[in-house]
Structure formats: structure tokens, C-alpha cells
Amino acid sequence: MAKTIRWEKDKDTALARARKEKKMVLLDFFNPG
């Protein structure tokens, strides 16, 4: 099964994960329109 990106929606949650997993954060601002 193909991998898909599992997006976080909350910055604090993403930063906490980044600290725990020792990763950088990719922050994407998008416009669905």
C-alpha cells in the first residue's frame, strides 16, 4: 500500500512529536480553493 502523508493539524502537537522523534517540522499553509 502506498504511503500517504499523515498531517498534524496542531503546531504544539507537531513540535512535541518533533522533539520526541528528533525530526524537523514541515509546516504547509494551503488554500483549498
Binding site: I5, W7, A14, F29
Partner: protein, 150 residues
Amino acid sequence: MGAVTYPDEKVAEFVEKYMVPIQVMFDAQPLAADFKIKWTPTVITLDEEGNEHHRTVGFLSPEEFIPSLMLGMGKAHFDREKFEAAMALFDQLLKGYPKSDAAPEAVYLLGVAQYKSSHSAKPLKEAYERLHTEYPSSEWTKRAQPYRLL
């Protein structure tokens, strides 16, 4: 990005393996104001403390997106003076994506990181020579021009 780049399998694998992705609407507050978002797509690389190190505005194809992320990760290490980690990422980018738009900046920053690690001017001159040979029309070649005299 949502239609082409993010569904790409290599992009998804890279992001899942090396980054924590967060996606928000362009007008989501307070983030949009905090990061002064004026256009989309805007993609920003943050360190684990939330500090910005790299930003792109506009569409990037899968072939350009991965090296752009690698450049951002390298810059995050570079900015925090983790030069070994930064050099490893710039080197990896240049080996895997030498023709990408991110490559010339990686050559430049690789030279600077090597200089900061070794205190020898040789890597700066080598960076200029590589830029001049491989990326003659890049803005990074112009920025490195003074190093030709070293």
C-alpha cells in the same frame, strides 16, 4: 501541491521518515499572522523549537520538493552550528539531486560549513569553483564570487 507533490510516493516516504508534517489553512490564526503568510502554497521548515530556517512560496514538483526539504533541514543544522549534520545533508542533496534548484545553495552552504569547521579558506574557493563550473547562472555563483580570490 495537494494534487501532484504530496501524493507522490517518494515525497510521502521522505516526509514520513524525516519530518513531522503539519498542514493548516492559509488564514489559520495565529499561525498565519505569526509566519506572515501572504500567498500559498507556503512551505516552512521549522526546528523542534518552532524556529524557522527555510521557506518556499509557490508550487514545487516532487523532484524539486525533496531537495528543497533537504536544504531546509541542512539549514536548520547550519543555523544552529551543527556543521557536521548540515554538511551531511548538503552532500546527500548534491549526490541525489545535483540538477535541482536547491543544489547551488547547498554547494554554497556546504563550502561555508566546511570553512566554519576547518577555519581553512580552501572550501570557500572550491565552492565558488564548483558553482562557476556546474551552476554558472545561479545567484549563488554570484554570491560566492569574492571567494575566487582566496
